[in-house]
């Protein structure tokens, strides 16, 4: 198992390198010259050249790339242009909040998707099974920002069942339950579409597995319905894990939009504010954080997959 995780981590290194190259290139093609901005309008050509040399901007691009990687690896993400503070604490606290939201969304997606999929898969020949798969088909196409807005309008603006935004009370107080109260609606908004995807895959693989010979043989041995179902579900878990892995990106991406609508202090809001402020160091750090989180989460999912399905470990 340890060897599997190690190998899986090795495989994800090219992806991470690819991501850093993309982010680095985007830094380079951004219009605007940082030297001119730093030195001011009245600077002479000589001071600008000196500054260019001091910042290492006259070095060949590969050298600049490795310099940048090296300082990023040491946790130096630069200084935010709009807030004039170090980028690192900004991005790390936002990343933590985004992870809380994405995790809550994943819980909604997984629990809801499994129940909906179980319902529509086990009763796929009857009407309520069709209703369940209709719900999942509808939910799959719903953009997370639309869901968030509908929830906001229906449940917070007109009648205040849930708080409409933020993570804690405006006064700054509140413990776990206050957080939970603030978390419910954003988590549903984030998790609803992935829930539909999981339900659909779970349904089709349930129907698939139930038609296999081993199920007939289990039934013919007189095993109870519950025992048979346990074997069936165990056999659907690998495909469920594959989908879950694909949904991580969707959960993280959707969380960005939902955060803006629910004023959740995560990476989405940070990116949103940084885009309007043209605060590129922050945007780059956010993309890099999201990419790393995404790649590592995928390793975790794959490890879980390997634990359930021994064939994956080979």
């Amino acid at each position: 198992m340890g060897r599997f995780i190690g190998r899986r981590l090795l495989i994800s290194i090219p992806t991470l390198i690819g991501v850093t190259i993309v982010v680095f290139i985007t830094i380079k093609i951004i219009p605007g010259n940082p030297v001119a901005a730093l030195a001011g309008i009245n600077s002479t050509a000589a001071t600008r050249a000196a500054l260019t040399h001091r910042l290492g901007l006259d070095a060949p691009l590969p050298v600049q790339y490795f310099d940048w990687i090296w300082s990023t690896l040491r946790g130096n993400f630069g200084v935010s242009i709009s807030q004039q503070t170090a980028v690192r604490p900004l991005v790390f606290s936002a990343l933590g909040n985004t992870m809380i939201l994405a995790f809550a969304g994943a819980v909604v997606a997984f629990v809801g998707g499994s129940l909906l999929g179980l319902w529509s898969g086990l009763r796929h020949r009857s009407r309520d099974g069709a209703v369940a798969s209709g719900i999942s088909a509808l939910v799959v196409a719903a953009p997370q920002y639309t869901v968030a807005l509908v929830l906001l309008v229906v449940l917070t603006v007109d009648n205040t069942v849930f708080p409409s935004g933020g993570m804690y009370k405006a006064s700054g107080g509140g413990g776990f339950f206050v957080l939970l109260d603030h978390l419910v609606l954003p988590a549903v908004a984030v998790g609803l579409a992935p829930m539909g995807v999981i339900a659909r895959i779970f349904r089709s693989s349930l129907i698939d597995v139930m038609n296999q010979d081993f199920v007939t043989s289990l039934r013919s041995r007189g095993l109870s319905r519950r025992t048979v179902l346990r074997h069936v579900i165990h056999n659907t878990l690998p495909s469920l894990f594959t989908v879950a892995g694909l949904q991580i990106g969707f959960l993280l991406g959707g969380a960005l939009f939902v955060e803006i609508l629910f004023t959740w202090p995560g990476l989405g809001q940070l990116i949103y504010q940084s885009i309007s402020a043209r605060d590129y160091p922050v945007i780059e750090a956010c993309s890099l954080m999201l990419a790393t989180a995404f790649v590592l989460l995928n390793v975790v999912i794959d490890a879980g997959h390997a634990m359930i399905d021994p064939r994956v470990r080979q």
């Binding site: 992806t15 690819g18 196409a141 920002y145 807005l149 603006v157 990106g249 991406g253 960005l256 803006i260």
Partner: protein, 301 residues
């Protein structure tokens, strides 16, 4: 006709319907399912409204009067109300359909062409090239599409063209994957063997044997992808990466109206629901086309 119909054999057809024309039509053309007709009609109406926006839109999409700001649905002759700057929302919705639809369709078309070409190259050439193409696409593919689109569009700067470029890049890998899977299924087919044996050149095999066989699957897949691209594009312009104000776009309307969520909550739902319904229509159309064309492919589902 009798009131009770016997369940014995086909119902006799009245003689006047038995002309050659209708017989041919019934044989060659199956009836389009509702899952194609309904979303198809809806999307055609939206597209027509977008094309003829100057004729259809009741008001100017960019000019408004502050005195008329945030009117309710139906108030003051504004069918869908007005936004925070007093602009007619229905007119903005109609004009906004232009960039919003284009940002869904063009990236899929571009990525469809590039992705299909890459998939065919990978599927038909040597093992080395196959590995090179597919592994480099995997690097992009393993990064979540929404995040990549945001990063690219943010780097390129706000604007419709840049959004289209960003979305096109993001959509190439998934399409190339589907194309490659389909080509791999064909590779060992007898007709391919026959084409190779008869000395057909590589481009001729790709164009005459492979492309017609993978086109239906890709068509279905791309139709559904347009829905996704519209959702992504809406998200990008919601983030402020779309069309420059004051011009309307569904995603940026969502951003505008979200500012006034607490004075007129229902208005913000209009562009959000429009994006949802349009994306849903493309999804349903894709499913319907799959059933109609009778495609059974794991890659496209």
């Amino acid at each position: 006709m009798s009131a009770i119909e016997l369940p014995l054999g086909p119902r006799p057809v009245p003689p006047r319907q038995l002309d050659a024309d209708s017989l041919v039509a019934r044989r060659t053309r199956r009836k389009l399912p509702l899952s194609v007709v309904i979303p198809g009609t809806f999307l055609a109406l939206v597209a027509l409204a977008a094309i003829f926006a100057p004729l259809v839109a009741p008001d100017s999409p960019v000019a408004g009067s502050v005195a008329q700001r945030l009117l309710r649905i139906g108030a003051g002759g504004h069918l869908l109300g007005t936004d925070g700057q007093g602009r007619d929302i229905l007119s903005r919705l109609i004009w906004g359909a232009r960039p919003s639809l284009l940002e869904g369709i063009i990236p899929v078309a571009v990525a469809g062409a590039v992705g299909t070409a890459l998939g065919m190259v990978a599927g038909l050439s040597s093992r080395r090239i196959h590995t090179l193409v597919m592994r480099s696409l995997d690097v992009i593919y393993s990064f979540p599409a929404v995040l990549l689109a945001i990063a690219l569009a943010a780097a390129l700067g706000a604007g419709v063209v840049n959004d289209i470029v960003a979305l096109s890049i993001v959509l190439v890998p998934p399409i190339a994957r589907v194309a490659e899977t389909e080509v791999a299924r064909l590779r060992s087919a007898d007709f391919m063997e026959a084409a190779r044996a008869s000395g057909a050149t590589w481009p001729s095999i790709a164009g005459r044997q492979v492309l017609p066989n993978i086109a239906p699957v890709l068509l279905v897949y791309c139709t559904a992808l347009v829905g996704l691209a519209i959702v992504f594009a809406g998200g990008l312009s919601f983030l402020g990466l779309g069309i420059a104000p004051p011009h309307p776009e569904w995603g940026s309307m969502l951003n505008d109206l979200n500012q006034d969520l607490y004075t007129q909550p229902v208005l913000a739902l209009i562009p959000a629901v429009m994006i949802f319904v349009t994306a849903l229509a493309f999804n349903v159309l894709g499913d319907g086309l799959r059933d109609y064309l009778d495609i059974r492919s794991e890659a496209a589902s």
